[in-house]
């Protein structure tokens, strides 16, 4: 699904000439790399329009799709960084749940909605820093460190909440307003999602942090020998993922008016799947934020279409599984074509 243009570009062995001249022109079509994903999205939209002409293209349905995508979407931005950096974060759903619980305890709630939001962000970032430290300096394998954080964060969330769903108190309803207040007909939380995507894109494409992320994931030894502090950067990547989980916790609290240890179950799988479908290599070094978000929208649209058409949720899971496989097979074919 990624970069059909590049696969067609002839691979010259370092000779100048007409090849060199054509390549910049092809690069102008850089956005073409997402053309497959956009095509898939378009097909899903057409399916929606055909099967449910009456209620697919309504404002309320589109807003519900975006609201649904917002929570995992924010997490996906963080997951994209971690995966491009050569890692994996399984703890995202559990960390989000922990952040939502911590922010909705009676003690935290007594300080008002702003402190609640700050609390969620700090808890998420803190959890990410801990896993990041374990991976970077404790030399744990990312899979294991984040699996441990998944289990432990979920447990801590249950302990803090006594396994009860914690309601947001009426005096803190300003937090809930994020989902009910609309600007131009769109809930505020969708703007938060959009803002995170834009900031994530800028961070990845326009800063030294983003460049280093590609370097650390693409060739950690080369990054190290070029003088990049690979360990520190690795730790920061997981902290960033945790930060995104904290922001996602704010969104889910706003949407559900609760904090709960059951929030975000299996979100890690959806987030990783979205990143993979978006064309990011699990081995690191390559990938884009836009691709991940397109992958996520595809996933969310499928869910929406199945619900609108009253289809079985089990079939929905099967469809998602197939899409992951197809996406990866297509990517592998592209990679082979690109191989020197």
């Amino acid at each position: 699904m990624s970069e059909p243009t590049k696969s067609q570009a002839p691979v010259g062995e370092g000779r100048a000439g007409p090849l060199g001249a054509t390549v910049p022109a092809l690069r102008g079509l850089g956005e073409m790399r997402h053309v497959g994903l956009i095509g898939a999205l378009a097909i899903l939209v057409v399916v929606g329009l055909v099967t449910r002409p009456d209620n697919f293209a309504t404002a309320s349905n589109l807003i519900s799709i975006l609201s649904l995508a917002a929570t995992i979407g924010v997490i996906t931005v963080g997951a994209t960084f971690v995966i491009i950096g050569g890692g994996i974060d399984l703890s995202v759903g559990a960390v989000m749940a922990l952040a939502s619980v911590w922010a909705t305890t009676l003690a935290t709630q007594s300080y008002g909605p702003v402190v609640m939001a700050i609390c969620a962000v700090i808890v998420g970032t803190g959890a990410g820093l801990v896993t990041g430290w374990l991976i970077a300096y404790g030399r744990l394998v990312p899979f294991i460190a984040t699996l441990a954080m998944l289990v432990a964060a979920r447990g801590l969330a249950q302990r803090m909440s006594d396994r009860k769903t914690q309601l947001i108190q009426p005096e803190n309803s300003a937090l809930v307003d994020l989902s009910t207040t609309r600007v131009l007909g769109i809930p505020l939380l969708v703007y938060i999602f959009a803002l995170v995507v834009v900031l994530g894109w800028v961070l990845l494409n326009r800063t030294t942090f983003g460049r280093r992320t590609y370097a650390v994931g693409g060739n950690p030894e080369a990054a190290r020998l070029a003088g990049i502090d690979v360990r520190r950067h690795t730790m920061l990547l997981y902290a960033l993922s945790g930060l995104c989980c904290g922001i996602a916790a704010i969104i889910i609290m706003a949407r559900t008016t609760t904090g709960s240890s059951t929030h975000g179950d299996l979100y890690e799988l959806d987030a990783i799947a979205a990143v993979i479908i978006g064309g990011t290599l699990l081995t690191g070094g390559r990938g884009t934020i836009i691709g991940s978000i397109l992958g996520l929208l595809i996933f969310t649209l499928i869910t929406n279409l199945f619900i609108l058409n009253g289809l079985n949720t089990s079939d929905q899971l099967i469809a998602k599984g197939l899409i992951i496989v197809i996406a990866v097979l297509l990517q592998r074919r592209n990679l082979k074509e690109r191989a020197p």
């Binding site: 062995e13 370092g14 100048a16 910049p24 326009r206 800063t207 030294t208 460049r211 060739n219 020998l225």
Partner: protein, 494 residues
């Protein structure tokens, strides 16, 4: 018994074997000599079935054979013991010996039978103390070597190819290796023995074949009494022309690097030297002499005791610190250690000095591109399009990009490890000119190369390394290739 004739193997851009002849008799130790890149490894891989020759014939016991895969080669009775031992650390000794031809019935491994058979083979090799059930990862390098050999024997090999078998062994272990080789040859097994160490070849070898630039230059020389000078001149009389820039125009300035008593146990010991601004210092030595490791230790990428002073100040804070203090390394393995193959030439050039293109983390991409373009022009990186992915460039141009990386910022010392590896002759001359220009600008250069003429032609001063020690230090103009090779191989400090 085994005759190879006119073997040619072509890789993209390189003719690795260009007409090699080899004639191995049953029961002899046939030594293969040649400098790095002479084609020894490729020849071994042809025999091991890993590469198929483009031309030429292999005759074994009078019949023409074509080992098309490693399995074919093993069935024919060719066994190869590689330089890097290809054992699986997590499996037991017996499992490693019989890997691929297990004692099994219906897929179930008969462990007892395998262990018994392994014990037999090991006893035959004179190592009954290695227990077949031991995990290979726990064994010493010498014991691993024995297991590797046991594997070759378990295949009932008739030709055993050994690629630098003594490289990982201590002195008394080498004696045991030789005893095993003598037993094998007494039973009629032929051994193809590859080593850089001339004294070993004199001790164990029967006949010598010399390779140079992918060709056989001498066949069947008697190993014991061919004069060293003849062997060395056969190895070095080369066709490749080196074009070095003249040494004029460089005036060594003040000292930029002082290394004192640098040691890493088992790798190198007590290494001391200095590099002055505008000076090129070369390290000459074989693979395993510690040359790359010394570079890495100076760079802070490898732990070592002793002191490294950069412009008189101590920097011992790892790579992040040494780069910040003006060092740069062009590592040995360009693709594995230096390049981001998926990224553009620009991104690869600026990787080491990103903060200089950023304010508060925000990259100034326009300036980054302009600088990359300036350097690409300066070093004549082709094609002249720094936005291309670097994987589409040739090796020489990739290497120029790695050098360009360290032209940015204020570098005081550059460490170059095999800067011309895998680079064709034309691009070499260009790289030499670039390195020379760097030194002219007052940068100190520490150069490692396995090609002795390169070290002699480029460096002002040369340190000769052998087994982790500096055995000679002197002006490059006072040395010649013969003398350096002599020191490297025979260890005669001049």
């Amino acid at each position: 018994m085994l005759v190879m004739q006119g073997i040619v193997k072509q890789f993209p851009g390189v003719r690795a074997l260009d007409g090699v002849d080899l004639d191995v008799r049953a029961g002899e130790v046939h030594c293969l000599l040649g400098q790095n890149g002479a084609g020894k490894s490729t020849l071994i891989k042809v025999l091991a079935g890993a590469h198929q020759p483009d031309e030429g014939t292999i005759t074994f016991d009078g019949a023409v054979v074509r080992p098309g895969s490693p399995i074919d080669a093993i069935r024919l009775g060719f066994a190869t013991i590689y330089q890097e031992l290809d054992l699986v650390d997590g499996l037991s000794v017996a499992e490693n010996i019989f890997l691929g031809h297990e004692h099994a019935r219906l897929g179930f491994v008969n462990r007892a039978a395998a262990n018994r058979a392994a014990a037999q083979v090991l006893a035959r090799l004179g190592h009954p103390e290695i227990r077949p059930a031991t995990e290979v990862g726990r064994l010493s390098p010498a014991a691993k070597q024995v297991v590797s050999m046991a594997r070759a024997l378990s295949h009932k090999a008739r030709v055993i190819i050994m690629d630098e078998p003594s490289a990982a062994l201590a002195h008394d272990e080498v004696a045991n290796l030789f005893r095993i080789i003598r037993e094998l040859t007494a039973e009629g097994v032929a051994v193809v023995y590859i080593s850089h160490r001339l004294e070993e070849i004199r001790e164990i070898g029967d006949r010598v074949t010399v390779l140079k630039d992918g060709r056989t230059v001498a066949v069947g020389l008697p190993a014991r009494d061919t004069p060293t000078s003849q062997i060395v001149s056969l190895m070095t009389g080369r066709n490749v022309e080196y074009v070095f820039p003249p040494r004029q125009g460089r005036e060594p300035g003040e000292e930029v690097l002082r290394v004192e008593n640098l040691s890493a146990p088992g790798v190198f010991s007590d290494v001391s030297f200095s590099v002055r601004a505008g000076e090129i210092v070369g390290l000459a030595g074989l693979v395993g002499s510690g040359r790359s490791e010394i570079l890495e230790a100076v760079y802070g990428a490898r732990p070592a005791s002793g002191s490294v002073l950069l412009s008189g100040r101590s920097v011992r804070r790892g790579v992040v610190g040494t780069v910040r203090n003006g060092m740069g390394l062009a590592p040995e393995e360009r693709k594995a250690q230096a390049l981001l193959l998926d990224q553009s030439v620009t991104a690869n050039i600026t990787l080491g000095t990103l903060p200089e293109f950023a304010r508060l983390g925000w990259l100034d991409r326009g300036r980054e591109r302009a600088e990359a373009r300036r350097l690409a022009d300066l070093l004549d990186i082709r094609p002249p399009d720094p936005e291309r992915p670097i994987r589409t460039l040739s090796g020489g141009n990739q290497q120029k990009a790695v050098l360009a990386r360290w032209l940015l910022g204020s570098r005081r010392l550059l460490l170059l490890d095999e800067p011309t590896r895998g680079v064709d002759v034309g691009a070499r001359a260009e790289l030499y000119a670039v390195i020379h220009d760097l030194a002219k600008k007052g940068i100190g250069v520490l150069l490692v190369s396995s090609e002795v003429p390169e070290v002699l032609g480029l460096a002002d001063r040369v340190l000769v390394l052998r087994e982790g020690r500096v055995i000679h230090e002197g002006a490059a103009t006072e040395l010649d290739e013969h003398r350096v090779l002599d020191m490297i191989m025979n260890g005669e400090a001049a």
